[in-house]
Subunit: 347 residues, 2 copies
DNA sequence: GTGGAATTTGAAACCGCTTTCAAATTAGCC
DNA sequence: GGCTAATTTGAAAGCGGTTTCAAATTCCAC
């Protein structure tokens, strides 16, 4: 082999030939095993050697090859994170939190998005599996329970937004029902009796919970559930806008709206604005999620706060516990209502 | 061989022992090299064997071990993507686009965020390098030119938002000056003469471009540049809110504002609203970036559209060209103005 | 049918690190 | 000091692929 060439510092457009652990070992006058042990802290090593190795590492600017580590060690030190749309503010916040939660450990995150499509999500997950991630965090999943259970035999799972049984599945209990209940109760407490609801996509577990909370609040207050006051959206601004327009077009009477997420609330508020209706004077609006932007809408949005960031961070921490073999114990705070300026007492 | 054992589906909480290429080879009655060749298309293989191997792969549900591939092949088939904050809507959109652009290839993205801090960004990049990414896309970077040039010797770079010379550095020319000029020109064309500006973080190349565009428009229209009409923000909603309050507190007179990004425009609009000023009746507001939400603010925001998504996708495609050894040729469309309802002619 | 070129194949080396196992060293104790 | 026990160390065998190189086939023209 042209080792002579290799000794030359790489110039030109060519890639610098990487420093290997073996080169470090040679430089420090020890065996590769010793270097590895120092790197991983897997065994005691005489102090003089530790120092020599550290010096060699610094001198050569050694950076362990992750692929080799993964292959030899059987662990990739990376966690797959599945979301549905990386560009939604909701997932953005969750991802940032997961990134933060993983930070203190040596694990790093691999983000992929399923776009609310089973096939896409499946492909993403295959991808993660072939990359041998040590665990997968699913921030909402479109796949059926059985499939997740099967997957959990290959790799441990953390799941938010849904409850699925399984030895190696840890669910962060994030039932949305109480949050939706809280929001609706608040409106009722403010004297509203005709409360519309812009729901999430039908057949989506989380969306159903939010609708259930709304219904529960109504029935607890002995208010009739009026089907014509409920319209489905798709969790997007545009969807909320369209939903509100449909609602308005039917001529239904209401003094308040509960939107199943903040983005739809934004859209709904714009639709109201376009019709000359002022929030909260004419209609009170409550959202769900408390996105960072919700403090800056006009008017600032009253919304259910559940600490997306907190959930994300907990998920990350739980995942670390899980892959390190401990059993995580997660307790999440409940939902609270961030009361801002999009609601008012009825009189 | 305990083939009998191997046939049992894996049970219990134990991880399923992964299927290896060698098992596929045995099952198909060929050598591992042949399987590899079929997998990668690196050589012709007799058709009967191809079929046998495909069948074996399907039967065993073989999924190549990515770490082994990376180690042996020297390519990780992954691209590092550096942003500053994964939870900002701007980066969210960019990341989604990059993900999309990479989709058709076999490369996948590794997202990391630098949080506008040099040290964080440096750490992220080291991380990517140790994971042997085949290329790095920097959607804005805080590091000095020289450091990027040094980095480019290790791995090819794609850089947006800044121009840095280098053999293996490809810059997507995304000079913000013309966009800012466009926005300010529009306000001037609408008859505004006293135009305030909420700038980005000082010392940030991109922010400076946006300020330059603003100044250029003023001077082209022979309008005086008034220092008291310019305040610095930090590209966040809260920053825009605070900046507008400072502006208002000084008692400066203005009929329009150019905010260096949409999020600051949101904050500014809220600050105006709180003081009883109506947009656009009392003050016209123009933003920059055209975030998806900007169509749904109240009022919908007039803003500079530069196709973040387009930039992201181009970056991804250029990166593929680059790592495949071709030389990318990217031409981006210029900035346009999305005229909505936050501006009005002065009279 | 035969020789030689072209095409397919498999054996084996290697990618860079971890880890086992046994040898070498050091420590502890009588 | 001598002997055993405890601690450090290095050699070598993988991890699961890719790739080189030469052997084995197949092809083709004569």
């Amino acid at each position: 082999m042209r080792r002579a060439d290799a000794e030359q510092p790489a110039q030109s457009g060519a890639e610098e030939s990487a420093v290997t652990l073996e080169m470090v070992a040679r430089e420090a006058g020890v065996s590769p095993s010793t270097v590895s042990r120092i790197l991983n802290g897997t065994a005691r090593v005489r102090d003089t050697k530790v120092r020599a190795v550290r010096a060699a590492i610094a001198k050569l600017q050694f950076m362990p090859n992750n692929a080799a580590r993964t292959l030899a060690g059987g662990r990739s030190m990376s966690i797959g994170v599945v979301t549905q749309a990386i560009d939604s503010p909701f997932y953005g916040e969750a991802l940032a939190a997961i990134e933060k939660g993983l930070l203190r450990s040596n694990y790093s995150a691999l983000f992929v998005s399923g776009h609310w499509r089973e096939s896409d999500e499946r492909k993403c997950i295959d991808h993660l599996v072939s990359r041998r991630v040590d665990g997968i965090i699913l921030v909402t999943s479109c796949l059926p329970d059985a499939e997740l259970q099967r997957l959990s035999r290959t790799v441990p799972l953390i799941l938010t937004g849904r409850q699925v049984e399984g030895e190696r599945i840890q669910c962060l209990d994030a039932d949305s029902t109480p949050g939706a209940r809280l929001a609706t109760d608040y409106l009722i407490g403010q004297g509203h009796k005709r409360i519309a609801c812009i729901g999430g996509p039908v057949n989506h577990p989380d969306a159903e919970q939010r609708l259930d909370g709304y219904k529960a609040a109504l029935s607890a207050a002995r208010l009739a559930y009026a089907k014509q006051l409920v319209v489905a959206g798709d969790y997007s601004d545009a969807g909320g806008y369209a939903a509100m327009n449909r609602l308005l077009d039917t001529g239904a009477q209401f003094t308040a709206v509960f939107a199943a997420n903040d983005q739809m609330a934004y859209g709904a508020m714009l639709a109201l604005h376009r019709r000359g209706l002022v929030v909260p004077r004419d209609v009170s609006v409550v959202g769900f999620d408390d996105l960072p932007t919700s403090s800056f809408t006009i008017p600032p949005l009253t919304t259910v706060h559940r600490g997306i960031a907190e959930v994300g961070e907990s998920a990350a921490e739980a995942m670390i516990e899980l892959v390190e073999g401990r059993s995580p114990r997660v307790r999440l705070g409940g939902a609270t209502l961030a009361v801002r300026e999009s609601t008012r007492p009825l009189r």
